[in-house]
Symmetry: C2
Subunit: 307 residues, 2 copies
């Protein structure tokens, strides 16, 4: 492992980084809460749709994607204010993907973030619609006239293309369940299902700061490697984690014969690959020097987390 | 009925108008087919997602919404080329809404446009994802760098807000099934479920032509009344139409205890209201003079159609 990788789990910066992350997460929670309040008027809908949306978007989660957007914006010299609409839009898309993935026809999960999944509480029809609503709302947020048109269009393009990639990955994941384990297929699924949106976070954060093309490209590379490290570590957590810590069912991928890194490459090789991807992610941050230390910490967090 | 309304079903313009509509529909079919070909690369996805998307977007339907966009653009002096991206994006959103509405958890329909519904052919998981994909693709289309940024942002804003309205209407529709018939609720559902997107078509068509605010407002009013007339006539067709003509199951709304105009206001009053809304739609076209004759024909078609 490269010596340039400082591991927040073992180094002296751990407490600092954790405190920083908690503060960032709470900034995101606050912005999402304000967004939901502002949306209440729009949501007046003669149905429980507002509750279903609030239930999944309002509550917890790691807020990894919005935090990543804010920090990539900072690294390129931008402010929280410049990046918050993109951060909210991204969390809307992420939440939509979780609600739809949890549906009985997809992964059929009863538990998410330690609470009952959306369709268990509101029924399948409303869960489908809450997902659709969140996905659409992301584009309402990005097309606000508070964002200048050139930036708005770039953000819409980045988010919509990233989301298409995620959906294509999800489709391959669902259909891969009936296929024998395949290195090519699992690489495709992992490069899309999780990675495309994490790459998009980095891209959007940089765009919000008016970063130059080299900076955008460097942060996208960071996001690609980070995304792969994240998904492989997710696979490993599903193998070895606990439902109590994760707030979702474990070993469900193996039960569903999912195409995962451990099932195709073995646990040890998956650990090595996750570490390699983390190093590659950190390497991509070279041009940003010390300014990117929080992102380096985030890359370490992704593979050392227990949930 | 106002004498300013010329009915293509009874007047000499009928054949002309039908020929015009068929040609417009075929222009839209061609554009969608080109779009699907161009998307094939993006859709290379290790799954049947491309087939599922092609199956529902590629085939038929009336293409009413795209034709409406093209014509509203023309009426304001714009070209087909200026309006086609908006027309394609709108048909993507409309198709997404049909695929999700047909799901077992929603309206549970086996037949759409005379063929098996998406989930009957590809399964529920892929149908959910094909809907998600189409919805997202609409925003990829609208954020293309071929559209100038100011227009792109306005179109994204219009389409995303219209779609939120449609989803809110659909949620009220689904939840209304367990409630007693209510004039207030059925008005809300009809003003949102179908009407919001038809209003959005008119708005987007006008925006593509750089129309002034008065023109946009007049066409939106046209779309609102047209949408209501369309939905009421849809309710009436469900009561009195045939599965063979409609290409979808009939009398399903009554079976599902849906909140419909005929069930709440009676058939006769619903017919009167559909006619009134058509007249109001036509009245909104006043400022455009003869240029809007095709739109007048379209308003008549909406309430005289048998499918």
């Amino acid at each position: 492992m490269s010596t340039s990788v400082s591991n927040p789990a073992t180094s002296g910066v751990q407490t600092d980084w954790q405190g920083w992350y908690a503060a960032r997460r709470s900034r995101v929670d606050q912005a999402i809460s304000e967004h939901l309040s502002a949306e209440k008027g729009r949501l007046a809908s003669h149905s429980r749709l507002p509750e279903a949306v609030q239930y999944s978007l309002g509550k917890g989660g790691k807020r990894l994607r919005p935090v990543l957007i804010l920090e990539c914006c900072h690294v390129c010299g931008g402010s929280d204010e410049a990046a918050l609409p993109a951060a909210i839009a991204m969390e809307c898309v992420h939440t939509f993907s979780l609600i739809h993935d949890d549906l009985p026809a997809m992964d059929d999960d009863d538990l998410r973030r330690g609470q009952a999944t959306n369709h268990k509480v509101f029924g399948e029809a409303l869960a489908i619609l809450a997902g659709d609503w969140l996905m659409t709302d992301a584009f309402v947020v990005l097309s606000s006239d508070k964002i200048r048109a050139e930036l708005s269009t770039k953000l819409v393009s980045a988010l919509s293309q990233g989301t298409l990639g995620m959906i294509a990955g999800q489709a391959a994941d669902v259909e891969g369940e009936s296929l024998p384990g395949s290195p090519e297929l699992v690489e495709y699924i992992h490069a899309h299902k999780t990675t495309r949106l994490l790459e998009t976070c980095c891209q959007m954060g940089a765009l919000c700061a008016n970063a130059d093309e080299q900076q955008v490209a460097a942060l996208r590379r960071f996001g690609q490697h980070l995304g792969l490290a994240f998904q492989i570590s997710d696979d490993l957590l599903d193998y070895g984690g606990s439902t109590a810590a994760l707030g979702k069912r474990v070993r469900k991928d193996a039960e569903a014969s999912k195409q995962t890194f451990p099932s195709v490459f073995g646990i040890e090789q998956s650990r090595v690959r996750a570490r390699q991807e983390t190093e590659a992610a950190v390497a991509a941050l070279g041009p940003f020097g010390e300014r990117a230390d929080r992102l380096r910490g985030l890359a370490q967090y992704v593979i050392t987390r227990d949930r």
